[in-house]
Subunit: 465 residues, 2 copies
């Protein structure tokens, strides 16, 4: 028998990790609910046809497809169809419903759009939903990149109000404040400003090319971007105009004022400036002064190849070396993919695998999470076992997490277990204790031991927290 293993790029979450993840997810859940967002869960499997063509050619290759069951039971024409389609699948990227009808969820956005379209008559719009579930991608696994990973999204569909953008900024700030994450910056821009930038640089038709090149600014620097812009057909004049625009500095209002002057000839650029001003004004009326993260207009923020059409945001922390820990934006026609037109949406995503790593590196998880069981009762067997058992349920009823070592094993073995489990207290119920109708309560950190009645034990544990 070979040693068991798990698939490359997947992880088991041990109890300690699950507790830390639950802390993070519950914190986010609490904030989402406070802001009126509602939980949604969709199946791990979607019909393959729901997913294909939504993530670009590269994305399609990374979808995990599920083999139909019972293929060996097929007869005649169906069997021939399967044999024929199989040959096509060996030739080129090709999906045959006769072979794979279903696939694993690739993100949370497409299933959300699919859900909204299927349930459009039952839902109350604007529909605010949050969703925290795993997704699967057949990417090459590497440090920080998994084949099974979690996404955590909050979206509003059915409202064009910029109050939604402002509320989502508040959700980011409230969440990172609650996690005590330092040095958080939320960059904000608008795809309309990028369209304006393309327009005033004389390359209106090349807006996506400019966006894709600008998206690499952090990674390859301005010289790299300039080279890519040139390759993508932007003139030298255009490139220098783009450089001038993305070099605008100052406070948010100073940047917007400067851009307003530069973009005076671009209707869409001016609209983008107006939307950013409104979003920031709404945000100003909702911001909590205790939040210490900052919102910064950044005209070079691009958010890559995707479906955004309005305000876009991206979150980073300078406290550790890590890419973005969140991002999002407005998309005008997501549900249009499934036939429901004219429903505008805006959403943000928390990169919870990365946020986990940041909280871990900065030791920001509450220490209490690592204490699973407060009290372990030592088991000496026989009549002492019966005496020990008498303490178990009263402790639990008093709100103390308690367990008894189930076997009358050697004292050392039981202590080793308590140590490995990071248990706070050990309750000893031996002959002497039983004779005195008391229990010895040993603090596992300090080593201090006291002979106490059960009530005194409970009071002591509760007072120590």
């Amino acid at each position: 028998m070979s040693k068991p293993s798990i698939p490359q790029g997947t992880r088991d979450f041990s109890p300690e990790v699950v507790r830390k993840r639950q802390y993070m997810l519950n914190l986010l859940k609490g904030i989402f609910e406070q802001y009126g967002f509602q939980p949604l869960e969709t199946p791990a499997m979607e019909n393959l046809v729901t997913l294909t063509g939504k993530y670009g050619e590269e994305g399609d290759k990374l979808i995990f497809k599920i083999l139909n069951n019972g293929l060996h039971e097929l007869k005649d024409a169906k069997r021939e169809k399967v044999a024929e389609d199989w040959n096509k699948m060996l030739e080129k990227p090709f999906s045959s419903p006769a072979i794979t009808e279903r696939a694993l969820r690739y993100d949370l956005t497409i299933p959300f759009a699919r859900f909204v379209v299927m349930n459009q008559n039952e839902l109350a719009f604007p529909f605010r939903r949050y969703q925290m579930q795993p997704v699967w991608r057949a990417d090459r696994p590497q440090r920080g990149r998994y084949r099974e990973f979690w996404q955590c999204d909050a979206d509003v569909v059915g409202s064009t109000s910029l109050i939604n953008e402002a509320e989502l900024l508040c959700i980011y700030q409230a969440a990172f404040h609650a996690m005590k994450l330092p040095q958080v910056t939320i960059k904000i821009n608008s795809r309309k400003l990028l369209a304006g930038l393309a327009e005033v640089s004389g390359n209106a038709a090349l807006m996506m090319d400019i966006t894709i090149a600008l998206d690499k600014l952090d990674k390859i620097g301005w010289d790299g971007v300039a080279k890519e812009l040139e390759q993508r057909g932007i003139s030298a004049d255009g490139i220098s105009s783009i450089r001038e625009i993305i070099s605008v500095t100052g406070t948010n209002e100073e940047q917007l004022a400067a851009l307003e002057a530069i973009m005076s000839g671009s209707a869409i650029g001016l609209q983008g400036i107006e939307e950013l001003r409104k979003t920031l004004a709404y945000h100003q009326s909702l911001v909590n002064t205790a939040w210490d993260s900052t919102i910064e207009v950044d005209i070079s923020l691009a958010r890559g190849l995707n479906y955004y059409t309005g305000v876009i945001v991206e979150v980073t922390t300078s406290a550790v070396s890590m890419g973005s820990i969140g991002g999002g934006g407005r998309y005008d026609d997501l549900t249009g993919l499934f036939g429901l037109k004219g429903l505008s949406g805006v959403g943000v995503s928390f990169g919870i695998d990365r946020i986990y790593d940041v909280l871990e590196e900065l030791q920001l998880f509450p220490a209490a999470l690592s204490v699973a069981t407060q009290v372990m009762i030592v088991n000496f067997g026989g009549e002492n076992e019966a005496y020990a058992l008498r303490a178990l349920q009263p402790l639990r009823q008093a709100g103390v997490t308690a367990e008894i070592y189930p076997d009358a094993a050697k004292f050392d073995k039981q202590m080793k277990y308590a140590n490995k489990r990071n248990i706070s207290y050990v309750l000893i119920a031996g002959d002497d204790e039983r004779a005195a109708n008391k229990y010895s309560l040993k603090n596992f950190t300090t080593g201090e031991q006291q002979l106490l009645s059960l009530e005194e034990c409970m009071a002591h544990i509760s007072s120590q927290g």
Copy 2:
């Protein structure tokens, strides 16, 4: 574009359903943690080799297999291997790692065993874990049977103490008590008693046949079972002896006493009786008198075709017509499948899809779960919008779940939304309210409306809960 849909046998969980499911899962989580059980999560995908051969021939057919990616990029020998294996897959049940290396989790028990074996050096034994995750089976979907459904298991491995069995009985009782589920019965038996029954009926070698036949007693009645026993080669004498044994009645102790007399010639049968007595005695020392479910010895309880070797349990409620809502037992060598011998385990499972249906049918979900947002602020636009926004964050900081209707839509439209969302209060911030620096708070259930300061609004909402 065809209408979007989800795969047969899968479900979207709408916000209301997610809330009810979370209530149930959090309640169970709280109890598991109280008893010292620790959370574990394993990946949705396992290596196919981990799963095959563990669930019987029928089970193997129901495993969802994931197609390897990049098949069309294979060349030469690898490609020929895939073509060859594909032909085999069309002929018979056959798994080729060249085509499918991975599969979806089929239950939580095998991944748990796999995890324990992989992490045996880091874990503290006895290891108590709970796990609540979806599993996937390519079963024919029907009412109450899904292709994606959730399991919820609690197991202890590395201890043979019957205290574990007693604690798991307490967990069942505490959980169903907390859910207020009435008329719950936990049937208890031992595989050793079934072995004893086979022995004293003169059919020791046919113990599994007898178990499989007895398992159908509820469905096909004694006559059906007798017929099946005959088909499985049990003599008429044997059948009448089995009938006599399973007809034993009385209190738990009366039944055990009667069985002790009947099984005096079967060492294993007597051992089963002894273990049941000890389990019940331990349970007696831990039981909470408030729990109203009952524990009943039932010698006909069999728990079908599986790996149990000791005490077995099954939970039903007579309050609704529904099969078992939980079950479990002791298994002596689960991790042996993966090369780690001699680790005894015992576990129980909660059938949470069925429990959900029962709670729903009996209307036992707390009413508060259906109120997601307590207050919606009406949006009249312009200066009134700015005035409305001033109320939003103070409400949330006071612990009130609040949202503003993001667009200055028609009043009726906003009221319709609040109604559909089951929102408790509506806060009206119009010209009059703004002039008075107050807000009109409308109770959406009673229709009652009051002009109040923001502080008074918060006090009123908090006092109404």
